[in-house]
Amino acid sequence: MSLALDAPAPVGFAEKIWRINWGLVLVLTAIAAIGVVALYSAAGGRFEPWAARHAVRYCAAFGLMLVVALIHPRVWLALAWPIYVVSMLLLVAVDIVGKIGMGAQRWLVIGPMQIQPSEIAKVAVILVLARYYHGLRKEDASRSLYTLPPLAVILAPVALVMVQPDLGTAMMVLLGGGALLFVAGVRLWMFLAAAITSIGCLPLAWSLMHEYQRKRVLTFLDPDRDPLGAGYHITQSKIAIGSGGLFGKGFLKGTQSSLNFLPEKQTDFIFTTFVEEWGMAGALVLLALFALVLVWGFSIAFRSQHHFGRLVALGVTAMMFLYVFINTAMVMGLLPVVGVPLPLVSNGGTAMVTVMFACGLLIGVNVYRDAQFPRTR
């Protein structure tokens, strides 16, 4: 009836630019800058081979983020299923190539590009779940029968990723998807049931795990089991963090990382490298920056007028949290060693693109926060 009254006036381009959360962009850039500093130090005070590329990569991903942010959520709503299906096909392809290749295969090489389908899957699951619940009434969302499709959507990539095997990504998809289901209104008893089931399935999971994964879990439960073998990484990481103290050993003065006692110092253990040199002060600053991102994410979710936007924003925020928490808890010995990078700080292109793409979606939700579009089934 009163379409002109109800529907807000179309938003102009300048308005869209204005609605981009520049504060959030600044925080993200600050985190990436910390990444450059840490990688510069990890390379022994050189821009090569990591820090310079990290900066270039961030600039490229920055552009991608802005483009994604300016695309109307309707487009993503429409593309949710296609993206999901493509990512599933790629995951299957990786598993097949992985069988032919050796060990854990996570990449697909297409021309000059190396892509990690599991990263696409993380975003695809968020989009599909958001779309699904966007089209559901509240009463339906809390019905158990309606919970089956989203469960399938979550578990399919989890299973494919587990095969690779990539425990970290599997955990992230599972927990991230779970968070979405939770805020979408799935009954609490179902989470309880899921928790009980997964505890019951532990022996099965144990038997399916690779030897190295079992070792990691055992080492986590008892780090002194084999301090020079499987527990070595975590022991050295704790030594590095602990010896950093309140204010750190100083820029480029981290002995644990520069003398190679620290494993994977430029990727999964970049937090350790940074904290050894900058101490607890540096660590808290970095964690505070990430916390700011989360707060921003929540506020964007609250301000969104449409459910799709809310769920996307929440999903992206949950993903960011999981990245940060799993990585830092792992390097501090609170979780078993799983391969999860620290977003925007760890060296590596795929995670950077995924995170910036997701942040683009998040900012897009804010830009189009008052857009209205129908529930589609």
């Binding site: 109800d6 963090i241 949290f321």
Partner: protein, 635 residues
């Protein structure tokens, strides 16, 4: 169009509630991270700092260079040679198997070596390097360098190995070094001994002078990375090289003696300076090549040395014990004279044997010597005279005199493995045999048989103490020692003994010496009046001696009747041949003891060796001529 907004309010409020719950959970978990940071970086930071420093800083000892050993003229006997070693470190044994596998492809290590290396790599603390192989040739060095990228933690290190240029000739005196054993550590807390590359004296002078030769370790504090590679040096303290030793041995004389002993399977010669006690030559044949020990002896080489019946590893000069036989008669005579049991004019009868109860004690000369005084008895080695003299003096006085002359105890030579021999006495027999002393025992002791045993060194010491006028000289191997090699020089020659006097009656000593002069002039060794070429010996080099033939196996009455000769017996049952001598007669300076194992007759076999060695010694006169000493230019 309201359709899509219907129910959104409800949905939104549920979302908000649950999102706040989720956000709260995230906040809690983030605080847990901060708490963990506090625990690691504030509460436990001291412990982790220490661990980080232990990771990083490595104290490495610099092994001191071992002191060199020279003969009295400055000729090298033990030196250090550059040794290229392949060393390996691993990060607490991680990747050890793979590394050893690759090293095996280069060197062909063999299974035993491989498992040793893996074990040592695992055990090595603080990435302390482990020796893979020593004495690399340049080809092996090149191959290792070529493959360096595949061999993380492997490096080549320039160390030193012991080299013994004289090999077998000096083997028993200089000895050799080997890996440090647990028993070597007893009472020594020198940390350098914990190093795998460190060597420790095992035998000979290398052992007796070990604590001086070793020197003091320096230390270097280095920063190492995770694979144990040194990144930089933080601090360094220099050690002190071991002190160099100048031995009393005259290498050329030693070589002459060894040459002279070549014809005999097994035996020993000791040459002493009777004034200073300097050991001028000490040969035990056969010897062994100490270089095989320095470079690492193989199992089969070791077996061969151990199983040989001639016992090449055994230093017979100090550890071989033999009945002294007739060379002991001077002790009996001196004991009898000093105790007034006989006087210089006492004549005792000999008709070929002496009876004690129903046992016959034979003289070596079938018809007997008739009546002899002490000088004649020594000259002709009359057994009956010494049976009787021993009986008159008694075992206690003989044992006491023997102890004063050096029997039954270790000398102050200091070499490891020196035997005391056996100087029997009443107490000794009661303790060891469990029976009281018999008269027959005294008879046997009187001619150096029975329970009595002595080492060649003890025989040389006895001869030296008789020759120098009764001074208690001790054998001595170390002439001088100094840490910088330039300061190494022999001391000034001495002509007066500094050892305490035994307070023997000079007249009695003169009689004994006169008897020994007569042995060579007219007695049992009168064939030694001429030198090896048959020319009479110059007056300045005339010498005195005493022959001895020691029974290995009792001669039975039946064999005596059948007239079985020694040459008909198997080698290991034949008599030992002994000869002790000193010279020159009018101013004795050198003493020499010779034993040829199973050499049958002292005068015939050992005598000529003693004569030739003593003549050579007197001609060279090493104790008075120090002009031959030359400082070794650094090699």
């Amino acid at each position: 169009m309201m359709r899509y907004r219907k129910g959104d309010g409800e949905r939104s409020s549920l979302f908000t509630r649950r999102t706040l719950l989720l956000g709260g959970a995230q906040a809690v978990l983030m605080s847990a991270l901060a708490g963990r940071l506090y625990q690691l970086q504030v509460i436990e930071t001291q412990r982790f700092s220490t661990l980080a420093e232990e990771n990083r800083i490595n104290l490495r000892l610099l092994p001191p260079s071992r002191g060199l050993i020279f003969d009295r003229a400055g000729q090298p006997l033990a030196v250090n040679r550059n040794n290229f070693r392949a060393m390996a470190t691993s990060d607490r044994g991680r990747g050890a198997e793979l590394l050893v596998e690759r090293l095996d492809q280069i060197f062909g290590l063999g299974e035993a070596e491989k498992s040793r290396l893996v074990r040592e790599l695992r055990r090595s603390r603080n990435a302390q390097p482990v020796v893979v192989r020593e004495n690399l040739g340049w080809e092996e060095v090149a191959r290792l360098e070529f493959n360096a990228p595949d061999l993380p933690g492997v490096f080549i290190d320039l160390g030193q190995t012991r080299d013994y240029p004289e090999g077998e000739l000096m083997s028993h005196i200089v000895g050799y070094t080997g890996r440090v054993a647990d028993e070597d550590l007893a009472g020594r807390d020198d940390p350098v001994l914990q190093l795998a590359i460190m060597r420790f004296g095992k035998k000979g002078v290398e052992r007796s002078l070990e604590d001086g030769l070793r020197g003091r370790a320096g230390a270097v504090q280095v920063e190492v990375n995770a694979v144990g590679r040194v990144v930089r040096e933080l601090d360094r303290t220099e050690g002190q090289p071991g002190s160099n030793a100048l031995l009393t041995i005259d290498l050329d004389l030693q070589r002459f003696v060894a040459e002279r002993m070549k014809d005999h399977q097994s035996g020993s010669v000791v040459v002493l300076d009777v004034i200073t006690g300097d050991v001028l030559a000490m040969v035990s044949t056969p010897g062994f090549d100490p270089n095989t020990f320095a470079r690492g002896i193989t199992q089969s080489e070791w077996r061969d040395l151990l199983d040989s019946p001639e016992r090449p590893l055994h230093n017979k000069s100090i550890a071989g014990v033999y009945p002294p036989g007739s060379t002991y008669k001077m002790v009996t005579a001196l004991a009898a004279l000093e105790s007034r049991a006989i006087d210089p004019w006492t004549r005792l009868p000999c008709n070929g044997f002496l009876e004690l109860g129903n046992i016959k004690f034979h003289c070596w000369l079938k018809g007997g010597h008739g009546s002899t005084n002490v000088v004649e008895a020594i000259a002709h080695s009359c057994d009956c005279f010494f049976y009787e003299a021993a009986r008159k003096a008694g075992v206690d006085r003989i044992a006491d005199m023997a102890n004063r002359l050096g029997f039954g105890r270790q000398s102050e030579l200091g070499l490891p493995g020196e035997s005391t021999g056996i100087q029997p006495s009443r107490a000794w027999k009661q303790e060891k045999v469990g029976k009281p002393w018999q008269h027959g025992d005294t008879f046997n002791l009187g001619i150096g048989q029975g329970y009595m045993t002595a080492t060649p060194l003890q025989l040389a010491i006895m001869t030296a103490r008789l020759a120098n006028g009764g001074y208690e000289v001790q054998p001595n191997l170390l002439l001088a020692s100094a840490t910088p090699r330039e300061e190494l020089a022999p001391p000034k020659p001495r002509d007066k003994p500094t050892a305490p006097s035994l307070r023997l009656n000079p007249q009695h000593l003169a009689l004994i010496r006169e008897g020994m002069v007569q042995v060579v002039a007219a007695g049992t060794a009168n064939h030694l009046r001429v030198d090896a070429k048959g020319k009479p010996i110059e007056p300045a080099f005339r010498f005195a001696g005493k022959t001895g033939t020691a029974q290995v196996k009792r001669i039975t009455e039946r064999e005596r009747d059948m007239g079985i000769t020694q040459a008909q017996l198997p080698w290991h049952l034949r008599h030992h041949a002994l000869f002790v001598c000193f010279g020159p007669n009018d101013n004795p300076r050198y003493a020499c003891a010779v034993i040829v194992e199973h050499g049958m007759a002292g005068g015939a076999t050992a005598g000529p060796i003693g004569r030739d060695v003593l003549l050579e010694t007197m001609k060279r006169d090493p104790s008075r001529r120090t002009d031959r000493f030359r400082k070794m230019a650094s090699r």
